[in-house]
Symmetry: D4
Subunit: 251 residues, 8 copies
């Protein structure tokens, strides 16, 4: 069942569990307080996807502590984003960690079988956008999706993009990743009929302002069906694409 919280609340409404008992469950279950972190053991119940660790600004010891807590609570695969090489080295001595240095993604435990409704396409404007793209693609794969990668298909050479029209047309969701002027999202958005998640990247220089130019370009897209996540936020795009690609499973 996809959402235990709703189940719990339904039981309350139906009277099959008392309010006090439900409150007790909610109060006891949700998290483990490590002092520096309140680890959310409840998230899979509440949101249908397990807790993910945002590695930036956490010490290797803190990351290891949270992984440990999650594993103790029964979570099999743990995704760690923005993980520094030092933290990866520290963790690799303690757990079965796969680490991709370019995207700084760490994965503890096995990749699940894909169970999504269709395919997710991850497209980039250039070669330099690949690290962000891999963050998105690996996130989607950890969450059980089949992913198609189309890299370096920026609009300055439109034929490179049009050559992959089939893959674009067959996607359930497309993640369009680009720095500089970020036009990729608009051009793709005008071609397809599935949601396009635009990820501006900090690739560029001068008046790209660390991704602001691409961000504004994407927010102002004249194509419909395009929404935007934070600059370089490959994880957020992968997570959302997975959610959309699992809509068929919802009741």
């Amino acid at each position: 069942m996809h959402n235990s919280l709703t189940a719990l609340l339904t039981q309350v409404r139906d009277g099959s569990i008392s309010v006090a008992d439900a409150a007790l469950q909610l109060r006891e279950a949700p998290f483990e307080d490590l002092g520096y972190a309140r680890v959310d053991h409840h998230r899979r119940l509440r949101q249908g996807a397990a807790e993910v660790i945002y590695g930036a600004g956490k010490t290797p010891e803190q990351i290891a502590g949270i992984v440990d807590s999650l594993q103790r609570s029964g979570q099999k695969t743990v995704l760690i984003t923005r993980m520094k090489p030092e933290a990866a080295a520290y963790l690799q001595e303690r757990a079965a960690l796969t680490y991709d240095a370019a995207s700084r993604i760490g994965i503890v435990g096995p990749l699940p079988e894909p169970d999504g409704d269709g395919k997710i396409v991850v497209a980039t404007g250039g070669t330099s956008d690949i690290p962000v793209a891999e963050e998105a693609a690996l996130t989607a794969e950890v969450l059980g999706n089949r992913v198609v990668r189309l890299y370096d298909v920026g609009v300055a050479g439109l034929h490179r993009l049009l050559a992959s029209l089939d893959e674009l047309m067959g996607a359930r969701a497309i993640i369009a990743i680009a720095g500089m002027e970020g036009a990729l999202a608009s051009v793709i958005g005008g071609l397809v009929d599935c949601p396009v998640i635009a990820v501006p990247t900090s690739v560029g220089y001068g008046a790209s302002f660390g991704g602001v130019a691409a961000l504004l370009s994407m927010l102002n897209s004249c194509a419909s069906g395009v929404s935007v996540v934070n600059i370089d936020n490959g994880f957020g795009a992968g997570y959302l694409a997975s959610m959309i690609n699992h809509m068929g499973a919802k009741p």
Copy 2:
């Protein structure tokens, strides 16, 4: 069939139509050039939703001309966004226009029957956000969705939001609309397991900078599953929510 373009391309691949004939069809069909506008008659085929008129910066005569062109091409219902009262008055003398002054939405023709997979929730932080919310809600309704409105459920009075937890939990997609600090998207995003489309509004003053504060807040949401559209872009959110709410119909 949801996508005639794919059909056409499939025929090409299968050899049931020659490339030359397909090219001819593509070249002839797509738009009518009115001089001031190239009206896209092809969009329903390509993207599964009919052409929408962005009313800002167009004269009443231009809007009427485009409506006329679309109707001649067989489109039954035409949505016009950001429509000024003058344009509405002008059009009302020429066509069956329904006009909502607060959201500046005009609809020519009948509303379709809802055919989406589930419900779309449109929530606002405050009363002042309602015009943007209606742009989103009416857009979704024109595109065939059932819509639940939850207005004035901002986070400063959390119990007002929590009282509607049932509606939130039952949605296929949620549109979270807020100005000022825009925290509504994050709080909803942390509670539910469906896509949340965040719409910052220009409601506020001083350091809200016309919606920038809410925009940045939403882009930086610590909740997963949240993506963002342009400030005050109720239409974009409604369109995307409808797309997500029709995923079940995709092959």
Copy 3:
């Protein structure tokens, strides 16, 4: 002869005129001081194009005074940009003024015969960009160019742009005008081999920030051969395109 200043300087170098006499000519000729304006009678000599009046921030009386000064100095056609209707009304009683209200362009005197090397294409992303486009197109026409107008060819419906590939490919210079995300310049820049002058417009809302989104997008274009002028600066684009379209005439 296209540049009298160079001629004058050449005479100085060749000894056919003394430095003192040349200095005298330069000192006497260049401008008439009206108190509120120093009207440049020398510009056609120095730059190959006559003085143009920037109408914003000038009173109708000042504009009329400058027109008068230019006509007295022998200039046949005078272009006035950003001219308010009041100023146009005032001037129309005093001179043979043609006025285009949408682009706020006023022209005193006859349009010259086109004498450029080829054609200039003026393309816009949408209908709302037309006023800026007309400022560019009329400027180019006043300066002696043949102009092709392609309006509403934005990238969200790529086929509308590709249908005009012939006109684009045959241009000596292209002016790409767009608001919102401004992707038009990059897409055109990737298709053609002539200079593309990008004009961001203030068309849009929210995070378009009055044209900043399009401006940044264009400055970061991944296509080569693209340069940018100020937001809404149709005049500047038309002037530069004309300069490029008259290169063949240069020695």
Copy 4:
């Protein structure tokens, strides 16, 4: 007595001290000029709290010199903020310094007994905000306050925050520290009836712009009773919270 300056001025008004003598006292007492710094020995009299050293941009020698000057003037405990490890190492050889590397807080001398009216709560949105939180908490402790730490209670997992409702409800002042979208301040502000001091942090990436997103979010909080200090300014928040927590002692 909380404010000797007022006392002095009162004596002047009452005639119990001549203006000249008062002026002399004010002129002689207030500071020691070290050339590179004018050390304020007068601050406890004027403001009820001793001088604090802002360590950034000062050399280890300068910091040591100011500590020395303060100790000679009778100040028992000296707080040093933004202190680099080199400066700490240099000072530790010369004085009884306690140094917290994460928050870069140095304390020379003993911690005072808490003498505030109640408790101050320091809450953070995430683990990465802890260094700023410790700057606030240690500042408050140096100034004589009891402090409760609630770390990693961000709004994306609302139950983690609600589980500590008791501590929040029992505070005299709450310091809400968050980066990214900064929604924590608004949510807490809507739940409690004591002043909430919001501290945006530079935690985040992309469109967080080094804390600007959280700053704007907090400035636009729709909850009442919330005010804001500079990004990462844990010290300022701790100081102000202490001031509020000592209001009962004021006459």
Copy 5:
């Protein structure tokens, strides 16, 4: 008793009320849903101060509806901020409204007797800041505070400020309101030992950027004990100052 929610929760903890009954009370009491607004009848219990109406962006009819709902729930005095003259005129025909046009503050019902611990000083840098100052002062008075007004005491004529040193020194909280360079907050903050709430105003021109210069100046104040609210947010400052001025009453 200042906080009924705490009381209710305490009863739950003590067992004098069942969780279910408490939940019922919370669920039933909190707000009335008017469709366009969820009026918070619970706020006085939860936060110790009654609901305030933010008038901007609400129609006169909506404001009247909310006033009516609050009065029906037993609230005697209703404060309305940012109220347009039209709304005031509309309401004055229906209720006992006092309206101050400069500050756009409306008050329905009688002013309460001051019950704060001491006095609140409201100081402005110039004459043009008075409307914001009155919003702060009237808010504080509606919430039961004695207010001292010191207007036009900007730092360019320091003696004007120093002449009121007595009033400043005797305050429980000071609201420092200034546009332009906003130095007033720092100078006051350096002189006194009570909390200073800084309110930047949009007074100024050019590089004041609608109050941004003053806002940044205040956020970077080198004086301790200073915190900041949004530009022109007199209400927020008055509310917070009242909260601080009622600390003595807290248990």
Copy 6:
């Protein structure tokens, strides 16, 4: 005598006046409190120039009240900046006001005889900058300076500027006023050896951002001897230029 405050302080140091008496004089003299304004009667003593009224944000009644207060204190000529036509009309019925509508400068009383050391040059880049230039020029004239006006000498027609090299070279101080790219200040600064006060104006459009482009340009001037005042701040430039032009009179 140019500075009575210094005189008073010197008397204190020399013992020719007691500290108490001096304090009394300072306390009594400085300002008149009108409630909405603290009128500085002391400024001529302290700063060598009489009080000036900043008209923006003041009602006609307030302006008249301050003029009255200044005249009662013996000030003969009163300068009012940013004065709206309504205020001028109101005042003209009550006092001998000269009003310049373009620069919004009002002058009550007679212009003084010039007593500066030399001449002040006021130069503008274009015709549209004249209102700001007149604010500067009239301010300088009210303060007793001889002013030379050089209008419309922008760098796009360098010969127009070079033709006035004599006037530039003979100035004691130059006020360089320009909008758009603001290059005028740098070019003048490179030619002369007296202080250049740069005034960016809000003249321009698009990426001039209301004067920000010119402001930044001037702040980054590669010429030495250039300093900058606020956008459109003709008054500030005129005041400072007058100060510099009266340096010879200082002891």
Copy 7:
């Protein structure tokens, strides 16, 4: 022939090649997919200039792979911009690379003979702008142009610029490169009658904001014929100047 694509399309129109065959050619020819890059072998045909490698964000291995792919496709000279020394060292062991460390330009293969219509002038405001200038100059030389370098001719010493008036007057296109206030482009633009391509540089400090001041200054240039490329984009300027300098060769 300068444009094979046009040729191909002409053949299609004339019936000398079938649409299917043309599509096949387009589909097969254009690029080689290396996984991390889609190398555009088609660009010379489409745009008249060979593919250029943007070195930033690419690994040495990726750059070498793309060079290899281009050479295999028959391209003789390959330009690499923003190339790090490590990448240069790596490539120098594998190919005939010329590398300029200051401008980070790498060139594989021989420089072509100049075949442009005239000369391109590259001018800088200061010595610190030289790296960007060399990027522009070397790009232009790789594309077959004669280049004249005028370095350190900033407007603060106008005679340094005027001394090179002959070179400026004789150019087909001028690249004006400057940081700080960027006035160089306006002053040159006012003197000459050929296109001026302005390149803002990140040279400067403080309020130059990494080149933003120069960028805005150039966008707002009051001189006609000036257009702008991205900050530090010497390559883009060199490419565009070359395009203009080869206009005579166009049919």
Copy 8:
């Protein structure tokens, strides 16, 4: 004689030198072209102060080359700003260089005797502003001025500033240097009657934005007689102050 250029031009006007000879002198004299720099030997004639070397972005070899050129042209003392330690080390082996590491100021040759009209005061808000202050003070000393240093007199401890009122009152020009909120310039500007040159510094953190907060604060100063130079531009302030302090010497 202070300005040889004027002298030369006067000779031209008087006929005592021919235009041709004058032109020759101007053409020959002004600068030496080193390829990477055009060294201005003419500046002392034109502007009354010798050439200064801006060290940032120049190699040690380039700096040494320019010093050499200036010395050959007869300049005795050479000021080098923003000089890196490496460049200083390199130069110290070749010339008599005095180097101040904190302010990165290098001086080749002897300091001149002060010949200004009075004294220049350099005041800072804090200890961290001293490097910028020394850049200003040393520049002023190199240009022949007596300098009084008042460091750490920020407005948060007003008595520290007021204790130095005598020095402030006796200055011909004051340089007010501050980071954070930059209020120092306004407070000093309100106290004195000489020009105040405000220098914002990049000292601060968070919302100081590298000096922008102080810059805006200073530009919006409500005190008259205040003008601003670029962030951290101690040199510019010292140069301008020297110019003002030598006004008495002007004819």
